[in-house]
């Protein structure tokens, strides 16, 4: 092979490499800025594993983070929305106390979806249970059907909603598992805010994900497992 040919090859190799290095970050940024163009699929099922042993008594960070992320008032009156709340449990005989966050459990067989007369309450292919507020008529059947009391109704007109989290009077709402963050590849706000990392978020359908590995090795419970809803949120040490 002549010397020119070798040089030419070398030149082509380096220029292809340089082009790849120059283009790759741009493509990544484009993807990040424009979000996914593919529909979510049932290959993924988002879920959470909550470690009640490390969930600190009196800590409210997950609730505060949720309120901030989703633009909730944080008020506690009967007409204020609560997407996540801290529940304290006490064994009356033994005296053992437990604290845990309770929110929409993102059931595989959600009763709220079964009862919805308009199709507003629905489960996304990746297991996140949502309300399509364009379709919601505010009948609140889903609130009555939910065994976890996870949903709230917006009673008053709202102002200054978050651009990523539209909310409005006359519709029902609940934990969205921070769907706008999940679609960007981030974690839900509560999981990120927990100082003890008690909330583990991940893909239950991927056997190699951290959450699946942990569920295989530690004992975890679904709240009201007797209802057979197969919740996406599981509790450890309950």
């Amino acid at each position: 092979m002549s010397d020119t040919n070798v040089q030419r090859r070398q030149f082509l190799k380096t220029s292809v490499g340089a082009a790849a290095v120059a283009i790759a970050p741009g493509m990544l940024l484009f993807d990040m800025a424009h979000g996914k163009s593919e529909a979510v699929s049932s290959k993924v099922r988002w879920g959470m594993l909550i470690d009640t042993a490390s969930c600190a008594d009196g800590c409210n960070d997950c609730v505060t983070a949720c309120n901030k992320e989703n633009g909730l008032s944080g008020g506690l009156s009967p007409t204020d929305s609560q997407w996540i709340r801290k529940v304290e449990l006490k064994d009356m005989r033994g005296g053992r106390t437990l604290a845990l966050p309770m929110m929409c459990q993102h059931c595989e067989e959600p009763p709220c979806v079964d009862v919805c007369p308009t199709g507003a309450s629905f489960k996304r292919a990746d297991g996140i249970v949502l309300v399509d507020k364009h379709l919601c008529i505010g009948c609140r059947y889903c609130m009555m059907a939910c065994p976890y009391k996870a949903r709230s109704f917006v009673h008053e007109p709202l102002h200054d909603q978050k651009p990523d989290v539209p909310r409005g009077k006359g519709t029902v709402e609940s934990c969205t598992m921070c769907v706008h963050r999940v679609d960007k590849g981030q974690q839900p706000a509560c999981a990120e805010a927990c100082p003890n990392k008690s909330i583990l978020f991940g893909n239950l359908n991927d056997p190699e994900s951290e959450i699946s590995k942990k569920i295989r090795t530690v004992q975890s419970t679904q709240v009201r497992a007797d209802l057979g809803l197969n919740t996406g949120v599981r509790y450890q040490g309950l």
Partner: protein
């Protein structure tokens, strides 16, 4: 001959309709940052609601957020540079036209009318400086 008359009539019609759209006191809108729109402006005036309706279902139910036609992107470019909003004044990008046409906008009962990137700017009043 007939063909010529037809052509003349067609040309007249086009001119007349162009003049008509200019002259009925159409609102002069504050287009914000403006720039190249995702579609032809005239097409968007007619069809923006259909596009938004179609893409909202794709986004809410299927999680498709590449959003060439997302409401958030409309607002990002077209919110006024004065108050970061598409509502509130007679020349606001959404409200101006909707007032003129007497069509109620429901979008902003739930959706934010503010430009998202405006949230990252520091607040005008610092904490604790009452």
């Amino acid at each position: 001959m007939l063909k010529r008359i037809a052509m003349l009539l067609a040309a007249l019609c086009i001119c007349a309709s162009a003049v008509a759209t200019e002259s009925y006191g159409m609102p002069k809108l504050d287009v914000g940052k403006g720039g190249q729109c995702v579609e032809e402006p005239q097409w968007m005036r007619k069809n923006h609601m259909k596009v938004l309706l179609h893409e909202r279902d794709e986004t809410v139910h299927k999680g498709i957020r590449d959003g060439k036609h997302s409401l958030k992107n409309c607002i990002e470019c077209h919110a006024s540079l004065r108050d970061n909003s598409v509502l509130g004044r007679a020349d606001s990008f959404c409200e101006g036209c909707h007032r003129y046409q007497a069509v109620k906008i429901d979008c902003f009962e739930c959706h934010s009318s503010k430009r998202q990137s405006s949230n990252h700017q520091p607040p005008l009043v610092q904490k604790g400086s009452k």
